[in-house]
Assembly symmetry: C2
Homo-oligomer: 245 residues x 2
């Protein structure tokens, strides 16, 4: 059986203007990998209704899950919830349980805008978590999370047990002090012998010295190990100096 | 006249598996912003032919420019060049000038795979730059760059003068020790008074203390300054403690 698939949808002008360097994609990618959910694609869009609707509707029909980050909150630029409701053709509804929690947490600081954080697309499941007063939510197969990395991470951990999970990917890496072109041909031959293992090669330089990271990844640990052994043998045959990654 | 628009297309399994945290999007976003090119969207796709073709064809018809990173090189997992050629329905051609440079640079280390880096989609313009032996290229409105940040940055600087540029975005930011909900309503009123200025609000916590970054961005410096003054006045009226961003 193959793993569930997923896409990430990062919503925020600040990422596309360069003001903010996104930190959520890498965290999400690693955690989904641990859980056997295969992240196939990511899109970053502006805080723009039609851009969000187009992306969420394209992704939710194509993948098992869509994880969104950003645009959650009480200010005018936080449009993710009403926009995803619109993408699903449903209304926005205030959740009374969340509203009560918010009133309790915020106390005298409460203003009408605060309660926007108790609004969800009709039919969404609330993702309760301990630390924050504003829970995330899951609308059908779309997991809606905050943009602040600390809060996003809490919401993700609360959502993951509610999702179908698969087999974790096995990955092995070795770094060698070789030019990528030196190993291109033997590496391709190894890839052809192990079609179910993804073999990647990532060149870099350290203090001007050329190195290449070689990575074998796949769902079957034995096949990954065999492919990795073939890579190690190739490097040994070449007399390449290696180092553990 | 409005600025040219752009999309980024990040090609690479390693970003979606979480092995690598992408560093190119933020750099690209900042440099395009400086040059008056408006980055509207970013997609991250796997090293997969059909995923790349779908994305590049969707983006190149929708935006003035598409900037791709990754999948350039001599190994089997470097499929960006032949795949973009396929997306345009053209052949891959070896550029003799680049081939000569490669032969000169690589010398005795040359293997057939090395010369893959002299291959371009037919009709592409080579983007020469001083530092690396493998230049980037521009295929119609698609700027094809390496994935290694150091090389990507060199290729981008060489490509930018070949593109149409617009007006830089003006941006002003102030940080205030307020909850986002406290300023939600007056901030929305300011946004409504200055519809051509994007007003964003980004909450954070430092040592548990809640703060919010308030940002005004737009093409007209005077309007951005006026909107920013309105934000500063609002914070002063509330007695909020601020600090320069």
């Amino acid at each position: 059986m193959s793993n569930p698939t997923a896409a990430a949808l990062i919503i925020g002008n600040e990422v596309l203007s360069g003001r903010t360097a996104d930190a959520n994609l890498n965290h999400l990618a690693r955690r989904l990998n641990d859980c056997g959910i295969t992240l196939k694609e990511c899109r970053v869009v502006r805080d723009d209704e039609s851009a969000i609707i187009l992306a969420v509707n394209a992704l939710r029909t194509q993948y098992n899950y869509v994880f969104t980050t950003g645009g959650i909150g009480p200010t005018h630029d936080d449009i993710t919830i009403p926009t995803i409701a619109k993408a699903f053709g449903v209304a926005v509804e205030r959740n009374l349980q969340v509203e009560n929690k918010l009133r309790e947490y915020v106390g005298a600081r409460l203003v009408p805008a605060t309660l926007r954080m108790a609004d969800y697309p009709a039919g969404a499941r609330v993702v309760w978590h301990g630390e924050q007063y504003a829970p995330g939510c899951i609308m059908e197969n779309v997991i809606i999370m905050a943009g602040q990395p600390r809060i996003m991470q809490v919401m993700l951990e609360a959502a993951l047990p509610m999702l179908q999970q698969g087999q974790p990917t096995h990955s092995r890496q070795v770094d060698a002090w070789v030019y990528e072109s030196q190993i291109a041909e033997p590496l391709e031959a190894i890839q052809n012998r192990f079609p179910d293992t993804d073999i990647g090669s990532y060149p870099y330089r350290i203090d001007g010295r050329p190195g290449t990271a070689l990575v074998a990844r796949g769902l079957n640990q034995q096949t990954v190990d065999s492919a990795f052994k073939a890579i190690e043998d190739m490097l040994a045959d070449m007399g390449a100096e290696t180092r553990a990654a």
